[in-house]
Structures are given as structure tokens and as C-alpha cells.
Symmetry: C2
Subunit: 328 residues, 2 copies
């Protein structure tokens, strides 16, 4: 993967489209990973592929790349789209989207190429974020890295030999479904999947249970009698302020994450694990115990060769990575 | 990875050396994966690199490839050595061997090249077995596969895009250290590592504990009052004969393996997992419950795209894979 740095000359640009369940973000991104223009529209303004593509056409107009007569068109190498669901990257095909209706078996890359005359790549949104972070963000120094995003769900992307690795059928990197307990919580995806222990819902429900059980904590007042309406950010803020329960919750999240991270290190031995997503915003209250428990769960020759780093592109990782998809 | 089939013409040959803790096996192997000549010597006949290389020189003489004057020399593309320990594949360097004294920080590839005038590659023994199985054995149809060997230890090798993937520092594929229980058995390698649940010792001690606890089983008579001297093969034979305890032991092994296999499938999504090693000789009593529990622990879209297959090269996987190392 080529690395672009500040000071280098911009040679190429692409459009990244981060297709989220709530909002569709579009950006004109250059090959230094810089966003030059951006726009967005609510996902709910569209209903299925046809109206989505027409709404996207208008948004591309906002970016100055909508039609052949506009000056930027010739400088755009293509469009990359990251979608929340299962895709076949080779064909640019969407099998289905997790939280968006009307998107089953859609040949989106072909439809986009027909409509806009631009080469289009379609990938899973977390793969796109991983690519963004590994090309321009927290992972840009590495050829072998694993990107993990922590939020409502837990997702991942694998960088192997400098390229995104999608597995045999474009579905690799589902870190959130890896098991941490062979006798653990059962779900339609298996037994003991990580996501059920460290996802947003797990963090909140574990906190709420402790409050209902009478544990003293500053979060009780914050919750105002409705502990289930707390957010992971509330818990992170309490932990940063030294609240014992909140620190304990993040230590638990860190142990569970460290268990899967140790398995990833023994299996793949990347140079780095890059951690992004909402829960990673917690910062030190997450990363400090995570580092501790990971070292505690690895043989020294593995522990001394792995680093865990926060993602650096924040909410822009998606659009930047999508654009990078189109540039590769 | 090129595939050679019966009926193809032999174009090249290499020497594979499977350096085990007990015996060193050498073979002249052609690029169809066929062994043309073989020899071996006890590891204990040597003490450290110098005497090992001299003993190897004699063994290469047995194979007809020891000196420049012998006819085969010109047809040998090189030597591949698989060793039981940590190596740096790029440099052909041995950091240390697990059960063989006198092998710390040895630049074996350089020493061999100097002594024999043949290009030499050095890799971890399980990587070599994985390469053998994926080039010529159970995995030869696949570009993305994971090889797992079950025995005293549990090891692994990763085939990614048709090539062995060694991770950032040549130490990837340590499947046996992946965790199946975040609150499980602690070891110097972590918490809940697979090997402590399904390695030879775990199988025997679990069986012995059940016998001592009074469980009815045909293995009681077989053990003759010393249940700790049973072998995994004894348990496998009892299971094949329908013994309830033995079947239960293999079901337990299968659940633990399926837990790690499900994590591997979610993370890497290979086409196949190839299972070899002594415990895999158990056959159906292992593979049947393994298949069942793996499907039970995967979402359907992953379960329907993964196959678990037995290794087919048996004890020859090592030498064949070592020779393949030298041919690549």
C-alpha cells in the first residue's frame, strides 16, 4: 500500500461514500487522504437502490463530480462505497444490508458505473474504515495490521502484506463474532461471541445491573432512575473521573477484548491492532487496562512484538477508506 | 501455489528435512510431491548444529545428493528444513528449539548453504507440514486454508492467497495458544489456551480422572490400574467401539476445537480447515462431532462456506512440505 504524506503532491482524487444506516456521507478525497469537499444526506430520504442512486447523483453534484460537463469529473479515478452488510467485493455486489430495507442482491457497482460512468468499488463499511486507517490513519506505518471497531457492534478488517484481506468469500474480519467462552452466551452466530460482552448494549446493561444491585457509583445520579438509558460515553466519563464501578466495567471490557486480541496475535501475528469506533473514544480508561491484560495473556516473545493503537481518523475513516478503495 | 498431479512430468527435486525432537527424517521429493528416496537418523545422535550438519551430510549421501561429484546434485533445487521451534524464515535463522538442546540463535540456512552449496530454507515444522498438505495433500484444491495439527501440542499454518502466511515476525499460526475461555486455565502463554483442553495430555488426564471417579468404561481394563498411561489412540479405539466415556471425551475435544475453528472462520474465512496430527487419526469419532459443533457455532452464511477435512499425507507431510519450501 502506498503511503502519502503531507508535503507530497496530490495526483489523484476519488469519491468515498460511507453508506450508514442513518446517514450517507460523501467526500471528495485526494491521494494524501485529505477530504477536499464533503456532503451528506439522511438514509431515510431514500428507499432502495433506485432512489438512493438518484439522491447520490444530487450529492455528487454538491461535490462537483456529478456530470461530464463539470470540471472535476476528469480528475476522479472512481467511486468507493462502504455499506453496512455483506458484500462480494470482486463483483461489487451487495447480498444484504443489516439495517436498511430494500437492499438484497443489488449489483451496486454495475448500477453506479452505468449511471455515473465512473468505476465503482463496493465493500463492507468496516473493511473501508480499516483501509482508511491503515492507509492514512493509525495503521499507516504497518504492512500487517488488524483494525477493530467498537460500538453497537464489533467489527474488523485485516491488513495482510499491505493489502486488505477479505478471506475466501469477502466475509473475513468478523472479529465481533469470535468466541471468548466455549460455554458462554449463545446467539444465532455461535457461543460466547465477543460482541455480546463488549458491545454498547453489554456495557450499558452491565452498568445498569450494578446500579440496580445497589453498587455505589456517580452514574446512579446521572441515570436519574433509568439506568438503561445511560450510554457507553457516560460510563467512560465516569471512569475518567475515577468512579470505581465505571473503571471496573472498562476493565471487564478490556479483559474480554484482550482475550480475542491474544487469539488474533497467536493466529495472525500482525504488527499492530488499531482500535476505533465509539467505545474507543473512551481513551485511556480503555487502552490502559487493554494493554495490561493483553500482555498478561501473551507469551513474552509475542507480547513484545505487538502494539495496540487508537484509530486516528475518527468518523472520517469510512469516507477516506471508501475513496482509497477506488484509488487502489 | 502450483499444483502437480499424477501424470505430470517431474521437472525438479528438492531435499526435505523434517527435524523432529526424536528423529530427523530426510527425503528426496519431486515437484509432484512424491518421495523418491528417504532416510533418517535419531536426533540424539547429534549435539548441536555442527554435529547435526555432519550427520546430515552422511544422510544426504544416502539420498545421493551429498557431494558435487554425485549425479543427482545438479537436479536438486535446494534443501528445506522444518524445525520444532521459533524461526525467522526470511533469514533462515533459528531463535530456539523447544525440546532440543544447543539450538539457540543458529543461522542454519547460511551454515547449510556453506556446507552443501545448496540454497536452504528453514521454517517452523508445522508451517512445513501445512505447506505439504496445502500443496500436495488435503488442502491442495484451496487458495485459502488453515492447517491444524493435533498431538502433544496443537499447531497451525495459514495458507493465504495460495502462499504460506507467517505473520509480521514469522510466528503466526499458533492455533494451539488461541483462547477458548477468558476465565479458563492459566499458563505462561495466556488464559484458556486450546492446547490445554485438547492436547494429548488433556485427553489422557480427562479420561483418567473419569476412570478414577468410577465412570464405567472399557478403558478401565485397558488401563490396568494405571489410567494415566492410556494414550489418545486407546481412547479413540474405545470411542470407535462405542464406549460412552470415550465418545464423551472426543465430543469435548470437538467442542473445544469447534470454538477455535469458529473464531478462525469469522476472522479469516478460509475455504477449508485441514486437520492432521496423531489425534486426527481418530477419524470419524473426532470429525463427526467436530463438524456438528462447528456448524452449531457459526452463522449459516459462514457454516455453509467452510469445510473441515482430514490431512492426507500423514507422517510424510513434514518432509514433503520441507522440500516444497525449497522449491518455491
Amino acid at each position: 500500500m502506498s503511503e502519502s504524506r503531507k508535503g507530497d503532491t496530490v495526483m489523484r482524487r476519488a469519491v468515498g461514500i460511507d453508506f450508514g444506516g442513518t446517514v450517507v456521507k460523501l467526500a471528495l478525497v485526494n491521494d494524501l487522504g485529505q477530504i477536499e469537499r464533503r456532503t451528506s444526506f439522511p438514509t431515510a430520504e431514500t428507499s432502495g437502490p433506485d432512489s438512493w442512486i438518484e439522491r447520490t447523483a444530487a450529492a455528487l453534484g454538491d461535490l462537483g463530480v456529478a456530470s461530464d460537463s463539470l470540471p472535476l469529473h476528469g480528475q476522479i479515478v472512481g467511486i468507493g462505497v462502504g455499506v453496512p452488510g455483506f458484500t462480494d467485493f470482486e463483483r461489487g455486489f451487495i447480498y444484504s444490508l443489516t439495517n436498511v430495507l430494500g437492499w438484497t442482491n443489488v449489483p451496486l457497482a454495475d448500477l453506479m458505473a452505468q449511471r455515473f460512468g465512473l468505476r465503482t468499488r463496493v465493500d463492507n463499511d468496516v473493511n473501508a474504515m480499516a483501509l482508511g486507517e491503515c492507509a492514512f490513519g493509525g495503521g499507516r506505518k504497518f504492512r500487517h495490521a488488524v483494525f477493530v471497531t467498537l460500538g453497537t457492534g464489533v467489527g474488523g478488517g485485516l491488513l495482510i502484506n499491505g493489502a486488505l484481506y477479505r478471506g475466501a468469500y469477502s466475509m473475513a474480519g468478523e472479529i465481533g463474532h469470535m468466541s471468548i467462552d466455549w460455554r458462554g452466551v449463545r446467539s444465532p452466530r455461535g457461543v460466547g461471541e465477543l460482541e455480546l460482552y463488549v458491545g454498547n448494549r453489554a456495557i450499558v446493561s452491565r452498568t445498569a445491573d450494578a446500579i440496580r444491585a445497589g453498587r455505589p457509583t456517580a452514574l446512579r445520579e446521572k441515570a436519574g432512575g433509568e439506568p438503561d438509558r445511560l450510554t457507553p460515553r457516560d460510563v467512560a466519563e465516569a471512569a475518567a473521573a475515577g468512579d470505581a464501578l465505571a473503571l471496573e466495567i472498562f476493565d471487564y471490557v478490556a479483559v474480554c477484548l484482550a482475550t480475542v486480541f491474544s487469539s488474533i496475535v497467536y493466529c495472525l501475528q500482525p504488527e499492530a491492532i488499531i482500535v476505533g469506533g465509539g467505545v474507543a473514544q473512551a481513551g485511556d480508561v480503555l487502552f490502559r487496562p487493554l494493554q495490561h491484560h493483553l500482555v498478561d495473556r501473551l507469551a513474552p516473545e509475542f507480547a513484545e512484538r505487538i502494539v495496540v493503537l487508537p484509530a486516528t481518523l475518527g468518523p472520517d475513516a469510512g469516507v477516506i477508506g471508501c475513496a482509497k478503495l477506488a484509488m487502489d
